[in-house]
Symmetry: D2
Subunit: 312 residues, 4 copies
């Protein structure tokens, strides 16, 4: 890792370079488990870097909105660490990789009911159950406000995505109920699953994600609004959790290839954080078999190298 | 992470401070599965920082020699990546956390015979099987030379430890044989297990480990001898592999608390790497239930904080 | 196995002998996960044999009523096989031992969502979901009628047990929801779990269980009422399923020691079936660590031997 | 189960009937993991029933010799129970189904090193390690003598099969070594694996297998030689172990469909035992995906029904 980002015109030009290199890649397939995702335009491709001072570098479709999906896990985890203290969250949610798929129940049983980390669904559900608020509505408002603070603008719900996913989230309901039987949930399992489904349906753009990532990169200060969204000590732990489990059971490969904390979502977004420097977000709906955006991953790897972002 | 280490006198004083803070800690127990380890003096405690320019900071028993044990995995992995290319090693050994204990065979079966990462025993055995050399003797010589190059001095074998461990390494033999049945081994399983047992029995001091770590921190250049032991591109991958799996199934917690790639050994050593800055080594034989040196872990956490080493 | 039971006076005397041998055993502990079970009188001990011709042999507390618990699984499975055909039920529920505990979710995931057998909770829930009836009330009525037909008298619900268990059955709800996500459930998961909780709360005596077992022993004909409750072909399969999975992951040991299909319940009942001869039921609330009645298991093993019931 | 077999001419005619029904079935494939098995003539098909009084009923290729393979596990288990006592063998080998494949190492780890049952490879290796004899040669002689006593004639080794399998049995070597590390083996793991490989390479015919099965069916008395090979109490336990684990993780389905203890081998043999009545053996090399002879399984199921052999 170099100590600072390249000069701004060079960042602009490298971003454009990355966009041109990978825009023609048409490997992978758009997620199709719900109609709202299947309808995504596979040609969309956006790359955005937000520096910690608020400078934005963009290439392609950086303002197209899509549901945030699993990327929300990182930011809700940050909010809960801020509210509960990262030490309590370590005990209740954990930060160790399971070595198993994101929706594994075997991981829960092998670990005596512990959800293990906030990036797998079990841990994300427990995390959401710990969000402040005495009701599902209050928790949802807290999350919507919190993620909007990370983005620096009001984020809206994609009602169609939410309703589609709410109709097919039985496995998450089962996981939440199972976690309740282990005494792990901080709130009603069905209501928590519903709030979790909502948080995954928040609409963001690649630009939003870059700003959100830059907020984590700068000790919790939003580079646009200058709001201190979470404390620096929280950011450090969120980045560590992403480094170890952000890409589920493939997190090690991600770190080996890209060398930065990251998180991807099934709608085609990928966010990576360069501590002290800024955030990088990519968006392109075609996914590889592991569920990561094909163009996004390739562009992130390229940019990690040429921008000198690798932590190691 | 700050951009550089504090001034040298401050490092000296912080190291001494850490040593005094934790020297009185007598929690934990010395490893006792072989007599040679059980005989270790539990009062030993050494802390050493090697800067990338070769400056050494020491407190306590930094010249006491002990068997390197699992810490060897990181450096043999580096040697094999250097020789075979880190991409081939990624395919054959992997870098993903298993979520299971270091000696798990279930992890092997759940992953269709893939050893998963170089830090668990399965992956370490495959790694050692890939060391250059047509015979066990040649491989052993390569390893001894290679680890000596990392340390900047000739490292010797602790024959007593080697013989004790060779008499009790049936599980590793079983794992190696199992990996052979999956077509994963690059060399005879029994001979590989023997070489692996030897590599774990190499004698090092905390000072050696700090220099070895500093070599990884500086793109492969030994800070004392200035020898380029491995390439910078290899170092980056070794650090990523340590970050994701260096502490086995507790690697996430380590990263959450300490924020640096690390590796511990059952003889009481812990090594952590601050990329671009230097290496930190601790030595104290009493272990916690997870097999990590109690004083070493506490001192590492403290120093990570006060020296500004956390990557995130 | 001998071809027929001993003479009746000898059965009476052997039953009394067994009762006297084991009545003084006070190992084990009454189930205490709900108050209604914890309140059971640990001194209760009843033994009953029902021959296929309706002759009843009794010793001790054979008319004390207790909730049937897991023993219901065998008889609801029989009813569903009767209604759906044992071949369809084989496909949907399975009859293979999981090698894992009765409430394992790992077993479900390792088998791609298949519930594996009707004796573990996953399979019992799917079985109950397949009970005829368009509503939970209709299914419940079908089960109550069906188990009453096996017993030859109207069985009643223990409302207190039902309500206690309904308040603590989150794990079963989670399992049912998970099975739904795999497309395995034949009915709403929460309602099915409720019906299952009811079926476990039906009140039976050791005498009832002996008659129910004798019905399975005689090709489905109740020895008292002479009603053909299920077909002979169904009985054969129910007995096979009990032989392979009636005692969960310890079924092999049961068969090794006792040599008959059997099923135990956490309230202290055990039922074993001697095909063509009759049924044996024991009741005593103190359980061993595996959840089987201590006196009941000892008495069953003794009687299996002296009555010549071992199938092998 | 009926009390006795049909009249002899009827058995003859039913056997012929079964042979004609299934001789045309050409589903499945001959085992091909070693050349010696791959060379088997797929058209071979033999059916044999040995009554406990020594009457033999045969149809087709009942005198063709083939390697016994896994069927040996049942008989070596019987010999070891005879020598060590079935209670000690229960503790050291176990009789519970694993729910996992025959060569699983995960099963070993999930059960803290316990091999679980004598039919999976782990348990078979421990069983063979417990065979009397201070050397591998002595153990092998004991097994060859013992299985010959079951067959009523001297059984010979197929040297070609033995050598082929000895060259490819790394997984079994790994399992044996792993079991040694858990303190489970009664003899050197490599030598035990070699003896086990030999026992699997003994040559038998369908006629031999029927006689061996009839010996277990008649309390250990060979129906031809009248030798008491093992005690009745041993036979009872061997049959129980076969009932619960003879067909590995599909044992429950076998019992559900066929209702008798059975064991199959990868060379195409299947043996089933009707306690008190006799033994049934089938031979045909084409296997289904689970490794069971296609014609053999179909014929066994048919004959179990028409001969009234189902235990339930």
């Amino acid at each position: 890792s170099t100590g600072h980002l390249p000069d701004r015109p060079l960042i602009d030009s490298l971003l454009l370079d990355a966009w041109e290199r990978y825009r023609g890649l048409d490997e992978g397939a758009v997620a199709d488990y719900i109609p709202a995702l299947a309808a995504a335009d596979p040609s969309l491709f956006g790359l955005c870097v937000a520096e910690v001072d608020g400078t934005i570098h963009a290439a392609g479709d950086v303002d197209h909105e899509f549901s945030i999906q699993s990327i929300s896990k990182a930011f809700v985890f940050a909010l809960v660490c801020q509210e509960r203290g990262y030490q309590e969250v370590l005990e209740r949610v954990g930060v160790d990789n399971t070595g198993l798929p994101f929706n594994s129940v075997m991981a829960i049983e092998l670990n005596d009911g512990h959800p293990m980390n906030p990036m797998v669904n079990a841990g994300a559900l427990v995390t959401t159950s710990l969000v402040p608020g005495a009701s599902a509505a209050a928790k949802w408002e807290y999350i919507q406000n919190g993620l909007s603070a990370f983005a620096g603008r009001r984020l809206a719900l994609d009602v169609q995505v939410y309703e589609s996913e709410a109709a097919t989230n039985q496995r998450n309901q089962g996981i939440a109920r199972l976690l309740q039987s282990y005494g792990r949930m901080g709130f009603d399992p069905l209501e928590t699953t519903d709030v979790y489904t909502r948080q995954c349906s928040l609409l963001v753009s690649a630009r939003d994600l870059a700003v959100m990532a830059a907020t984590l990169a700068d000790g919790g200060v939003n580079p646009i609004t200058r709001e201190q969204v979470v404390d620096p000590a929280v950011c450090i732990r969120v980045l560590a959790a992403l480094a170890s489990s952000g890409l589920y059971e493939h997190s090690g490969e991600w770190l080996y290839e890209i060398g930065m904390p990251g998180k991807s979502g099934v709608s085609g977004g990928i966010v990576t954080i360069a501590p002290g420097k800024g955030g990088l977000a990519t968006f392109s709906p075609r996914l590889d078999v592991a569920g990561n955006s094909v163009r996004g991953k390739r562009a992130t790897r390229y940019l990690s190298g040429v921008l000198g972002l690798n932590l190691f």
